[in-house]
C-alpha cells in the first residue's frame, strides 16, 4: 500500500513541477495522471499489486475527498440567497443538459466509429 501511495505522490510531485516549470494550464495532479498512465504503457505489464490496491481504495472513496471543499458552501449562504436562482438554474439546467447531450452524442459516435 505504501509503495502504491509513493508512486501516486511521486507522479503528482513530478506533475506539479512540470506544470509550474512550463506554466501549463492544467494542475499538477492531472499532469501526474498522464505521467502515471505513460509509465504504465511503457512498462507493458499488469498494474503492480500495491498500486492496484491503493488506487482502488482511493477511488472507491473518491466522493469523500470532495466533502471538505463542498462544506465551503456555508461561507456563501448570503451570496447564494442573493444570486441563488441564477446559480441554481445554471447548475441544474447546464449540468442536466450537458449529461443528456454528451451521452447521446457519445452513444451515436460510438455506434458509428466503434
Amino acid at each position: 500500500m505504501i509503495a502504491g501511495l509513493t508512486t501516486l505522490l511521486a507522479c503528482q510531485l513530478a506533475g506539479e513541477l512540470l506544470a509550474r516549470a512550463f506554466g501549463l494550464p492544467v494542475p499538477g495532479p492531472v499532469v501526474g495522471m498522464v505521467l502515471l498512465f505513460a509509465a504504465l504503457m511503457l512498462r507493458r505489464r499488469p498494474v503492480p499489486a500495491g498500486l492496484n490496491t491503493t488506487a482502488d481504495g482511493l477511488l472507491a472513496n473518491l466522493g469523500l475527498l470532495f466533502v471538505p471543499a463542498g462544506v465551503g458552501v456555508v461561507l456563501y449562504l448570503p451570496l447564494l440567497a442573493r444570486e441563488g436562482p441564477a446559480i441554481a438554474l445554471a447548475v441544474v439546467g447546464g449540468t442536466l443538459l450537458t449529461i443528456a447531450a454528451t451521452g447521446r452524442l457519445a452513444q451515436a459516435l460510438l455506434r458509428r466509429f466503434g
Binding site: L59, A86, A90, G94, I99, G103, A106
Partner: protein, 242 residues
Amino acid sequence: MSDLAQIWVYLAREPLAALTVTLVAWLIALRVADAARWHPVANPTLISVVLLSLLLLGGGIAYRDYFSGAQFVHFLLGPATVALAVPLYRQWQDVRRSAVAVVASVVGGGALAAASGIAIAWAMGATPQVIATLAPRSVTTPVAMGIAERLGGLPSLTAVVVISSGILGAAVGPLVLDLARVRDWRARGLAMGTAAHGVGTARALRVNETAGAFAGLAMALNALATALFLPLIWRLVVGLSR
C-alpha cells in the same frame, strides 16, 4: 468549566476532531446510501456535505477551523486524481478503439457545459463575477478554480459550484441518461465525467468499471480542453461585446 474550555481549545486547534467528524459523516452517508440501495439521489457526498454544514452552522464553528483539520482528506484528491490512470490503463483496449468518439463527445460536451451555464446565468441577470464563476462549472475543482480566477470569478465560490454540479450530475445524471436512452456504459461514463467531473466519476466507478474508466478519461480531457480554450473564447466574447 475551565477544563471544558481547555478541551474545546484543544479540539479546535488539532486536526483530530474535524478529521473524525468528516469520516463519521461519510460512514453515515454510506449507510444511508446502502439503505437506499445505492439509488443515485442518495449521493454520499451530498449527504456528508449537508450533515457537516448543519454541524458547522449549528455549532457556530468557523469553516476555516473545520478545514484546517479536514484538509488532510482534501489533500488526497491529488493522489486520487493521479490514480485515475489505473482504471484507464486496465480499460485501455476499449478506450483506444473509441478514441474518435471519446475526444469529439468530450470536447463537444465540455463546450456545451460552459456555454449553457454562461447563457442561463446571463439570461437570469447574474453579475459578470458570478457568470465567470459559473463558466468552468463542469471541470474538476482545482482546474475550475484556476480558470475562474483568470476570467475574474470567485475561485472559492467556484469550488462550491463545481462540487454542487458534480453532486447534481451524480445524483440525477443516471436518471437523465435512462430517459435519454443512453445504455452504452462507455457513453454513460463519458457523459458523467464531462458534466460532473470527479463526483460523477465516483458514481460511475461504483456502478461499472468500464463506465468509471471512461468517466475518469472524460474528466481529464474536459479539464484539459476547457483550461486551454475557455479563457481564449471568453476574452474574444468579452472583447466583442464591448
